[in-house]
Each structure stands twice: as C-alpha cells, then as structure tokens.
Subunit: 406 residues, 2 copies
Amino acid sequence: MARLVQKFGGTSVANLERMEAVAERVKRAYDAGDEVAVVVSAMAGETDRLCAHVEAVGPLYDAREYDVVVASGEQVSAGVFALVLQRAGVPARSWQGWQVPVKTDGAHGKARIVAIDTGELNRRMAGREVPVVCGFQGIGPDHRITTLGRGGSDTSAVALAAALRADRCDIYTDVDGVYTCDPRIVGKARKLDKITFEEMLEMASLGAKVLQTRAVELAMKEGVRLQVLSSFTDVPGTLVVGEDEVLEQEVISGVTYSRDEAKITLVRVPDRPGVAAGIFGPLAEANINVDMIVQNVAAESATTDLTFTVREADLERAVAVISQHRDRIGYADLRSDANVVKVSVIGVGMRSHAGVAQRMFSTLAEKGINIQVISTSEIKVSVLIEEIYTELALRALHTAYGLDAT
Amino acid sequence: MARLVQKFGGTSVANLERMEAVAERVKRAYDAGDEVAVVVSAMAGETDRLCAHVEAVGPLYDAREYDVVVASGEQVSAGVFALVLQRAGVPARSWQGWQVPVKTDGAHGKARIVAIDTGELNRRMAGREVPVVCGFQGIGPDHRITTLGRGGSDTSAVALAAALRADRCDIYTDVDGVYTCDPRIVGKARKLDKITFEEMLEMASLGAKVLQTRAVELAMKEGVRLQVLSSFTDVPGTLVVGEDEVLEQEVISGVTYSRDEAKITLVRVPDRPGVAAGIFGPLAEANINVDMIVQNVAAESATTDLTFTVREADLERAVAVISQHRDRIGYADLRSDANVVKVSVIGVGMRSHAGVAQRMFSTLAEKGINIQVISTSEIKVSVLIEEIYTELALRALHTAYGLDAT
C-alpha cells in the first residue's frame, strides 16, 4: 500500500472520454489499496479561453480578477472528474484551492504556495475517499483566489505530495517520459528510467517541456519522488529522484537544444572596468534575461569584442536598449544573429568524469560545426552554433556519448 | 443618495460589448453618489454548457459536484464584469458566494439562502467600492459550494438587497417591465408603472417569465422594493411594491395565460366520501401537481363528473396513474384533452370590487367562448378554455377591463 498523488494535465482531462480513461488509472491504484489524491489541470484549451475573456477587457488588468476568472477552469475539471470517478465506483470529492486550503502569498497571477493544510484531506483519504484537488489554484492572505502562473498544476501536485508525505507524485502527461534527446530529431533517443532532479532541472529549463522547472525545484527541495508518465499508454515512465537513488549513473543523461536564442556581438568595446555593468545594467532594467556571455580580449588593442545571448523574442528590444546607450558604452559596431541554437549535454556524471566537454568540442569539429559561444556549469556544457546544424549536432553528440538505443 | 442592488441577467452580460453597456448604468448611479452592489448571472448559454458537462457523465450525478461545476459560470462573469467596471473607472471587486459569505442550507442544486454576512461588503461600499457578487451561488453547512437552482440569481439579488437594507433592487433583463398582457398577442398591452407583490406572484407563476417566483416571495417577505427594467433601453421599468405604495389601484392589473395545461375528466365517479382522496392521493405520490379541480354533481344519480388540470408534460403519466387505480376509484370513463389554455385576470383591486368574475364570464360568452373550468382566488379569476381561442379571449378581456393603451 502506497500513498500517491496523481496529476493529470489538460490533455489528459480534455474531454469525457479521456477523463474516463485516466479514471481507470486512479481506480486501479485505489482498488489495489493505495491512498490516492488527484490533482487536475483545466481541460485543454480552457485556460486560453478564459484568459481571452480577461485580455479582451484591456491590456492592463487587475490580477485579482484575472485569478478569479482563470481559476474557474480547474474548478470545472475537478468537479467533472470527481463525477467520473464516482461513476467508475471510486468515492471522490473535488477540492478548490480555497477549500483545502492551499495557502499562497499574495502575488496574484504568479503566486507561490506557502502552506497546505492537509488535515481534512488526510481524514478523507483515511476514510477511503479520493480528493480531486484543483491544480493551479490557491488562496492568498487577502482571502481571495490566487493562481500559480501558467503550468502551475505540476507545482500544485508536488506541493501536495510533500504536504501529504506521499510516496510518489505521478505526473501524467502526453509524453511517456524523459528522453535522452528529442525523439522527433534523434530516432535513436531512449527513454530514461531514472534521472536526477538536477539533470531534470537543466532539461526543463533547456526546452524539454515535460515538467515545470518550479515543480522540479520544489520536488528536489522537499525530496518528493516524481514520475513522469503517459496518460495514454501503459508503459512505465521516468522517475525523477535524488542522486543517491541513481546507482549506475551514465556520464551524460541527455542532449538538449533550444532554438529560442539570439546572439548579439558588440565590436571593439573599450576594455575598462565597468563596461560590462554599463551593458547588462540597462538590459536587466528592461527585464531582458541574458544567458551566455563571452568576452574576447584583443591582445593588440585596448578594446574587446563582447558576445551574449538573449531570448529570440527579446532580440529587437535588446538591440534598441543597447543602441540607446551606445555613447556611454562606446562600441564600434553591433551585430545580431537569430539563426543560432544552443545545444547542451547534461549529466551529473560529469562531476566525476574528465573530458566530457572535450568530447563535445571534438565531435562538433569532426562534423565541421563551428562553436560560437561556450558556457559550462557543474552538470552541463552548452554551445551556441548556427541553427542549420541543429539536427546534425544532436545526432552526432547522442552517438558520441553512447546514448543511442541498441 | 440611495443604496441600490443592480442585478444583470445572462443576456445582459452575454459578451464584452453588453457588459460595457450595462457597466455604464452602474457608473451612472455610482457617479451620482449612490452606493451600488451588483449581482450577475452567468454569461448567456454558459450554465447550459456547464450542465451538459455534468449530464454527459451520467444521469444520476452528485449534486455537490454539479454545484462546483455550474457555479463557475457566475465566477467568470463576476470576474470579467469587475474588470469591465474597473476599466470604466468604477472601483469594483468580485465576490464569490463563499467569500461574502452567502450561507445556504445543504440542499445542493436547489439550496435556500439562510443568511448573508454583509460586514465586509458594507465596509467596501462605505469606501466607495462596488461589490460584484455572483448570483446563484452560496456556501452550505458542509463548507462546499451550493447553487440556488436555475434562475436563482434573482433570488440572490433580492436576498442581498434585504441584507444590505438597500433602497431598491433593480432587476435588469431583456424585457423593459411587466405588461398588462403579452404584447406579442395583445398589441394594446401597456407596461405597468407599478404592480403589487401579490399580483406579480400570480403573474410569475402563470407564465409571465419576468421574475423568479421565489425572488418575488422573498421581496414581499422582506419588504424589498423591486424594479424590473431593460438593460438595453433607457426607459423606466415596472416597480414591484407593497400594496400600500400603489395609490390608484386599477381593479385588474393584467391578463395572463398558460398553454402548459391539460385537462382530465373522470366520468361518473361514485359520489361518496373519500373518492377525491382516492384520485389525488396517487397523483401526489407520483409528484404530479394538480391545479384546477371542479366537480359537477349530477342531481339524478349517485355519480359525479370530476375534472382537473395538470401540466401538459405530466398528462401521460397522470392518465397512467389514474388508470392503475381505476378499480378502486370506479369511474365509467376517462377523457383527457391537452388543447386547453388557462386564462387569468389578476388584480388586488378585485378584493374591493364586485363583478370582476362576472365581467370575465360575460365577455367570453359574448365571443362565443365556452368556459370548461373556473377557479378563483382572492386576487385572481382563472378559466380553462379551448386553446384556439387564446388570442381572442386575451384581447377581449384586455379591452373589457379597460387595460388597452390609449
């Protein structure tokens, strides 16, 4: 007997037919004697529809009322799913964020969970009832409905699993796990049985949109064992766990990429203290995130070339901000390029293995791919390359690190 | 300066354009210094859509979860309307039933309001904020969302007006008031400036679907002055008030009709004690409402003919129930007829005026219309006639009682 939190995303509860299918998963665990709590997202498309109502009123809206409107999507799916479970013979009851309550801070539209009162849920579960909790929702210190930001239901599920001291939090979604690379590009990509929280965090933030970054962070902090698996097939998914649970750690767990990158190079920037602050200060003020930064010191002059990357959507604004400050920065030329992709290899194993970065560089060199920018962290090596080489680079790296399925 | 409750129905908040139009009405009162609380229904069509989600799961559903699902319609309209008011320059805040709270009994799906805690609303209104309260919703003793039954938002508005001790409760709808007769049939029908609660109750239950019966009952009990008026035009509506406020009472306020009637005649029923109970007992057990009843004593025999009316939708079931008990009742023949209409004249003035019923009978006789059944109450005379005479009877009576517009 285990205590489980099962979270179903929007596509898993998109219509009655799908709800009936996933209800069978709840029923199976329930009938096996497990204590199950369910977390649901809004039915696919509903949150967009509700947002459109709010945005139609005007661009600057009161986040408190936004929360009231969009939270209704989960209200409906939780109510209907409770009915579907009841019809399948599973005693179920829906719970709104304010009913549990899921207490959050007052940051309407992007609230953070502060505490979950599980007293009543525990009593119900002990009485063999399945709570169907609305994801995404909470209640703020102002006694009003809050929401956690788009995709926040993963975070709701993990927070609930932590509060209920659940044995596992199963995130049911439309993919069946975490892969060594995007299977649409690398045919030999393998599904991972296990991955560490740290690796998953890098994966999530690099574009493998399987799990919300916040949810993984919270799971890591609270020690919640996560499983990502498909609502639509019956195969095991990928377990996201602490490093201690991964016995035979591969050096590299996956190769990821992000096309949402753009590069800006400032040519012949004066090489003096404070110049970096003069560039990145205004960008930060404009709320533009800078990712990779590289500075090439020119030996024979008092200037340097400075290259950095921003999100592609921010490129135009970033160029405008820099141009405004041209006199103060004093660069000779500004070059920008959106035809770039960031490719990364990720693995906690690289902490104890040398030569991981070198293998990446030599593999790309063999294929004649030029590396424009490099950045590294403890468990990740990222390079910026020309976008047309994306598929070639991913396949070559996947093979080079021994990740190909046999 | 007055304190007003303004209630907007589903068609008045059906889309952003309409919301913006009705927001101007709130703004006008607010800018004039009135204290305004708003009650909204779900956007037109939404409650049906939400009900369909519930009904799709199965015919026998848990009313608690039904309430969770359908209450979301008002949640959305209240949130969006608060945003629309804010944008129009009116400080506004949405309120869910559980937030106010609007306390109800535990009869999910058809709950009754027990108490409304107006402390916080009063504070907000004193601070020049307009509360936008979800109609239809409440919270039950089980700390779960309840709903008041279809059309319950009128009742929400009246209950709120009573709790807030409002000077008036304005029900904005898609008709501009209460008419002396259905204007689609009687071209000379006039809009009434005032009508008493008692008359309005008879009107409402007889098919002039302007106001919910429960809402009128509550307004009468609590002494809430009601006004029915159009969201779409700027003309004054009809005031529904106590009898003391109507100075120059017409004898008859209106002529109404209901086509949803069917007649059953039992021929030669034994004329002995207990026979009526033997007939109407089984009908009551089958939850069939009997309206008019007439018994013709046949002088020369020990039998009587008994005629009564039921709703047209109940006719088949009623005939089946009676037929089952034929032996016990002992009638010679059962005749049923759905081609009948009930026409009524309504007016508190008839309490102090003789000859009201007689004028009705003679007017119909002049037009050659046969009266099948008669029933009377203190402020109403109803007759059952053949359905094809509906228009003729309504127009003739409207003229005979001096109701025609000049």
